[in-house]
Subunit: 443 residues, 2 copies
């Protein structure tokens, strides 16, 4: 069984009751609340992502940002379909399942087959092909919640690589335990990819309680069969796009500060923590910076599209603006909980700049981390292309993977107090780096 | 908005990770785990409830209980159907909805209509019929989590009475905020009833985040329309039944001790906390009592059927055993969290008995409450008919309504340590009352 309880260290914010309260009167809250309410889910390449771009252009112009525009690109997309699964033997149970992005479709009538249990991706990798061929592979795995989100890298491999490994061994479909740290009945979606040579097969994730059930039955040594209908399917050439805006600097010849978030979201929730909150945070901070007086350097905002299916927005932005010089990049894409650490990628010559930033953040309770910041998916292509400096404002990820890519990613999960702490941290950093006259360099 | 956060006082037990652990080797855990795994959801009147009765008879006999039998009755049942809802204007959103028990069906193609917002049942009651007629009524309401579960009475009226009130005013359907204290995306089902004169109409509950969304849109004054398909429908004459078993006493002429729980469950989860845990607790306690030596009085176990649709099992038991004398009744039907208080319904002459019970429970951290115990739904009909004494072992309900009647009512939500405390509390009480030679009387 999988039943280690953490009774005391409960990290989830839970809403107490349906008691009315005033909404915060901040730009960040308004962006977050309105985007999740008026648009909601915005899957890459979908009509709702397009509606979100239109919404963003109108809103960012209204807020007084400059050079607001939508920049189109197309993506190899994926559209969700019917998703239903049933454990049919030894005991009948409905399974709460969602398809992974890039899953191949089952026939509309579904498929049935033996469900073969693997305790981990490594166990699947070690299995002979004959144990998998013609079956539906189930990949279990452990994931622990922690402040820095470091469980996502290793345990997320079950989602990223698992389907491809199962396919290469001849599985007809694959089901994984959701990549998450909650025990709600809602599964976590997310993207997978099939390696060259591994045919795309239907791939889904079940909720943690459903995975527990499968693990318990497997532990009893009982053969399992499952009926699976997942009709989501890849669709090429879908329209997507970035939204870009600016706070123009006094000296347009100085390389700009690039700040990023992503506008698209998975479609199960309303994309509140992933990543409406990021766009809300960076935009409110940029506007507060502007309100303090025109900064020296231009601050360029990237609300990227199609991050969730593979970072296509970041790639498109780096390609489209390859010749527009930037100095430093930052991104907010880890929810809306408080910033607890700042990390840098700055040269030894820029140590005074880093010291100044760290000193400005200390009153917000933010500690200084190592000099190996990496930005985020949406700004990384430009960081690599232009060899940019980076500052990371690391957010508390203790409960992020309770909600990540689930129907539970909704507005009520955002704590306005922590959201505001993020904006203040971003403002503190922008106030320094956007007014830095000297060179800013990563090494 | 509805966004009061309780960050510190998070009551939910959350499972840390998929780390294997040994299952507890207790009868209570085995009953709970096996019933939720091998049977799972067991809606009153359904084939799965019948399978659960068969399972229970086999298990209780194997555990060494006496006179184990299934006692059939029929119920006015209800069967679940398709349940889909979409906010169609002013913004398109999928709503996470479930039908309430006794909901009338929509046509298979669903219905569409204006969604009219009421902040509470009282607001709906106060509205003129003209504001409701032909529309789909939405009933919002507040519910607070608390140890004694006392929020369920008042806020649950939105579910129990709301549909009937809406119907009487001419609503074509009704949607309520789930009766619950969580903020997961899963709605809470539960039974409603239509008063004489109020036609049954389609009735559903949306999850708290969906209700928040509706409340936010309503607060903006925007007209809302909703498309609703709820095909669940009443079905008369469904087969149900109780399972009864005994630990025979040394003196069969003494009135027995009746201990109850319910075997049926709502069908969204696996009925772990509602109420497999109750049956697990009372049965383990009865078996430990037996292991200590034959008690003076017979202890009669009632695993009632069809509690969730209206306490039909308790009614059937009271009618079938009207002439079998009982002295005192107890029930476990409030989850699996620790017992924190003991309540009595005992005569002044039985004060020494109550004192003895309270003293035996004190080492388990259980405080003494008032002398107004009421048993539970499954034993109440017999309490009323035979004027029985009652002892309540009140469980901590702080997180009960996070899970109650949702897909999240699964095995992983049960804390084995607290489950065991329940069994020990029950054993302490049974050891006293089942060996009481003198009369036991409620007043």
């Amino acid at each position: 069984m999988r039943n280690l309880l953490r009774t005391a260290a409960c990290s989830a914010l839970v809403l107490a009751s349906a008691v009315s309260a005033q909404e915060p009167q901040t730009v960040s809250w308004e962006i977050l609340a309105d985007l999740t309410t008026e648009i909601g889910p915005r899957l890459p390449g979908s009509p709702r992502e397009a509606a979100a771009r239109d919404w963003a252009v109108v809103r960012l112009k209204a807020l007084g940002l400059a050079n607001v525009r939508s920049e189109a690109f197309t993506i190899p997309g994926w559209v969700r379909g019917v998703e239903v699964a049933q454990l049919t033997a030894p005991y009948p149970h409905k399974l709460h399942i969602t398809a992974l992005g890039n899953s191949a479709p089952t026939p509309a009538a579904g498929i049935s087959g033996e469900l073969i249990y693997f305790q981990s991706l490594a166990a699947l990798q070690a299995a002979p092909d004959s144990a998998v061929k013609g079956k539906i592979a189930f990949i279990d795995h452990a994931m622990k919640a922690n402040q820095d989100g470091s469980g996502y890298g290793p345990s997320g491999q079950a989602r990223r690589q698992g389907p491809s490994v199962a396919s290469a061994k001849g599985a007809v479909a694959v089901v994984i335990r959701s990549i998450g740290t909650d025990h709600n009945r809602d599964p976590h979606t997310g993207v997978t990819n099939f390696d060259r040579g591994a045919a795309a097969i239907p791939a889904g994730a079940v909720s943690a309680p459903d995975a527990d059930l499968i693990a318990r039955v497997a532990a009893k040594g009982k053969p399992m069969t499952v009926a699976l209908t997942l009709t989501g399917r890849p669709q090429a050439g879908l329209p997507s796009g970035n939204v870009v805006a600016e706070v123009p600097g006094r000296d347009p010849t100085l390389p700009a500060i690039l700040i990023g978030c992503h506008l698209d979201s998975w479609d199960l929730g309303t994309g509140a923590i992933d990543d409406a909150s990021g766009c809300a945070i960076i935009t409110d901070a940029a506007l507060r910076l502007k309100a303090q007086g025109q900064p020296l350097r231009t601050v360029r905002l990237l609300w990227a599209g199609s991050e969730e299916l593979g970072g296509f927005g970041g790639d498109a932005f780096a390609a489209a603006h390859a010749n527009v010089p930037h100095a430093l990049a930052m991104e907010s894409d880890f929810g809306a909980d408080r910033v607890w650490r700042v990390g840098f990628r700055l040269s030894e010559a820029n140590k005074p700049l880093a010291d100044k930033v760290a000193a400005a953040l200390a009153p917000l309770g933010i500690v200084r981390g190592a000099n190996r910041a990496n930005g985020g998916t949406d700004v990384e292509p430009m960081i690599e292309r232009q060899k940019l400096s980076v500052i990371d404002l690391d957010q508390d990820g203790s409960r992020y993977f309770d909600l990540h890519h689930t129907p539970d990613d909704t507005l009520d999960k955002v704590d306005p107090v922590q959201l505001e702490q993020n904006v203040q941290a971003w403002l503190a950093v922008l106030g320094i780096v956007a007014n830095e006259a000297g060179p800013i360099s990563p090494n």
